[in-house]
Point group: C2
Chain length 413, copies 2
């Protein structure tokens, strides 16, 4: 794609109204725009990042048998009355139609997926069942001030699993734990798996926490083994429950959580099945969330430097950022431009993900600054200097390593 066609307007200044690193960099780079406190718009460039993250999640969810569906965002009040959360879920946005019906705006979907699953599940032959969606959620959060880390409207992947027995739930829970580890590893995030409060029905849940200084959660991580607990459940003793070593206090941002719901929601909705002996039994459930738009923010919190964003390869909107530097002599510039155009065309033909800075009104210096700021993993420069050696320059954004490669051999890759 040509940079001019993405229609973003890079800003030279960081937005003064934005205190978080992630939103500040993402707004400056034209990835997102702040509509109001806790509500953001995604530009074409920002949506590319979101789609990349979504597709990683989708692949790994499909790998553990997940089936993607799409549930409604307008939830009838009655469904939430059944679980008692119409009153107890503080962050639930509510809206009344002019015909006097009340709806909640889906902040999570247990109240919707359980009655849905009830129409599918009748016997043990229908189990296990794994359903997920990637969807906009709404939560009336207090004082959103961490950019994409805490918003009133956000993209979330929510998976729900339905099982014959607690054993089967336990097995699948471990599978999803592995799938989540794969997802966050593909995004190159430094994460820990922390024990957290399990609510009424389970002793613990697990949170996938990315270690960042600006994280909203406080965690205690063992300096020796990988044991980690959220502050909310930690004992006073400050010693690892696993190996008795000292615990280190760190900050984290939760990007995923997995939860054994057991029968917490199947009971109020009476979600039962007939087992192989003809006996009616209650269904066991798990739920598993990932904050898709929050991940975009967390990635930026982890991966940036003074020059801008450094996208991990699998989240980058484009792998290559192509620049044709002007020499100032019009005959040379013509050749530089046509060589860059040729490389751009060849890469497009091969399906390589590349963005070409074709903006005419910008200087070499501005283009170099912008390419660092936008943070694609590899920058390619074509200039008079490189062309004299029939070469191009490739710089890795992360390591700043530069290589000079013959154009011919580069195109044959």
């Amino acid at each position: 794609m040509r940079l001019s066609q993405i229609n973003l307007r890079l800003q030279r200044e960081s937005p003064k109204y934005e205190t978080s690193i992630n939103a500040s960099l993402l707004i400056k780079g034209g990835f997102i725009e702040k509509l109001t406190a806790g509500v953001y718009n995604y530009s074409p460039l920002g949506l590319k990042v979101i789609r990349k993250i979504e597709n990683i999640i989708r692949e790994e969810m499909n790998n553990v048998g997940g089936r993607e569906l799409l549930l409604a965002a307008l939830h009838p009040r009655q469904n939430w009355e059944i679980t008692g959360r119409w009153k107890n879920f503080n962050a639930l946005f509510k809206t009344k139609s002019r015909y006097d019906q009340w709806y909640g705006l889906g902040p999570t979907h247990e109240e919707i997926i359980v009655p849905f699953a009830k129409k599918i599940i009748q016997s043990y032959k229908d189990l296990p069942l794994y359903l997920y969606q990637i969807q906009t959620k709404f939560r009336d959060e207090a004082r959103p001030k961490s950019g994409l880390l805490r918003t009133k409207e956000f993209l979330m992947k929510d998976l729900y699993s339905f099982h014959e027995s607690e054993n089967d739930l336990d097995d699948y829970y471990e599978k999803v734990k592995d799938a989540y580890s794969k997802i966050f590893s593909r995004l190159e995030l430094p994460f820990v798996i922390a024990e957290a409060s399990g609510g009424t029905f389970s002793p613990y849940s697990h949170e996938f926490q990315v270690k960042i200084r600006t994280g909203e959660d406080t965690l205690y991580l063992c300096s020796s083994c990988s044991f980690c607990q959220n502050e909310e459940i930690i004992s006073d003793k400050k010693k690892c429950l696993n190996c008795r070593r000292n615990l280190e206090k760190i900050k984290g941002s939760e990007v995923g959580n997995i939860f054994k719901l057991k029968t917490k929601y199947s009971e109020p909705f009476n979600l039962k099945f007939i087992d192989s002996k003809g006996k009616e039994k209650i269904v066991f459930m798990g739920c598993y969330g990932i904050g898709v738009s929050r991940l975009m923010g967390v990635i930026v919190e982890v991966y940036h430097d003074d020059d801008g964003i450094i996208w991990p390869k699998e989240a980058a909107p484009f792998n290559y950022h192509l620049l044709a530097l002007k020499s100032g002599k019009s005959n040379e510039d013509k050749i530089i431009q046509s060589q860059a155009e040729k490389i751009y065309q060849e890469f497009n033909k091969k399906g390589v993900s590349i963005v070409f800075d074709d903006r005419k009104e910008f200087t070499n210096g501005e283009k170099l600054i912008d390419s660092d700021f936008l943070g694609m993993p590899q920058r390619i420069i074509i200039s008079q200097r490189t062309l004299e050696k029939d070469s191009l320059e490739i710089k890795e954004r992360k390591t700043k390593k530069i290589k000079i490669i013959k154009i011919k051999s580069f195109l044959q890759q």
Copy 2:
């Protein structure tokens, strides 16, 4: 995909609570589920249809230079106050946060895209600009009773165009009209382009109306030329304004509309640009909508028979529906099953879109009925009878034409 993995439960009876043909068939087939009046959930199978329709629209929008983005659904009250629609847009759902801010739930996005575009557009060099999204919209409709044709929550594609001049808007408007014609042609829908009310700023807008008996709109269509007008603007005379022939009264369901907004929204938000002579000018706008989930309903209204749904090829969740009919003799059934499995595997390898009815508990008769009902374009049967001739049977769902083809030559296709 294996039919058992889609986890749909086909119902033998039509849902009694559903009066519309489209929702009745789609619920019976397990494509959608009704959550409450005017609100539906999409099952994995139904979501496949939605994604097929979305991708057709996406392709054609990209072909006319559209750039996809994603705007927020929570709209600050202030944006809607500026255009006067906070009070005047009757179907606007409103919600108040517990921190006393009011939001509208996006029923359309002029109030959001114009301030967004204002941050991009400064000079004539930034124009034209074409931005679109595919997103869940909310409208507090009265008495939703037409299934997916009129709902309180729906998927919509909305494109907004920004221009230097009215002439440029006029040119692009025609391009989008052509793109829309391509989209509805690819979906094999019998549509007419009807003139409709243009609101304050334009004499007419254009609606893409699909001719269906159950349509909510009344149209007058010339029996000779293609002239068509919505009842709301028709003169009393009942003669074609174009060729003076008689007008025929028909029913239609609106699947798309295109609208020259001109300066209706750029003025209240003061969306201006500097032209090539350095003069400040107002931006001209167009907006162009397509009801994505409504299209799914309209397709079913048009394409069904007594046996069930008949998906047009480009909207079908799968192109082929594969059945292995039991002979009743276990040694024969083993061979039938393994041949079907082989064809299924080969097709998957080739990336052909196929669903294999692997449900063990169903009879041949039930499987045949279900395959007609689910409505994939081509049904493939492997049975003792076809295997005796090293063949398989292909039936086209639409024409009911049957062909017997050698398995070997079929797999070499």
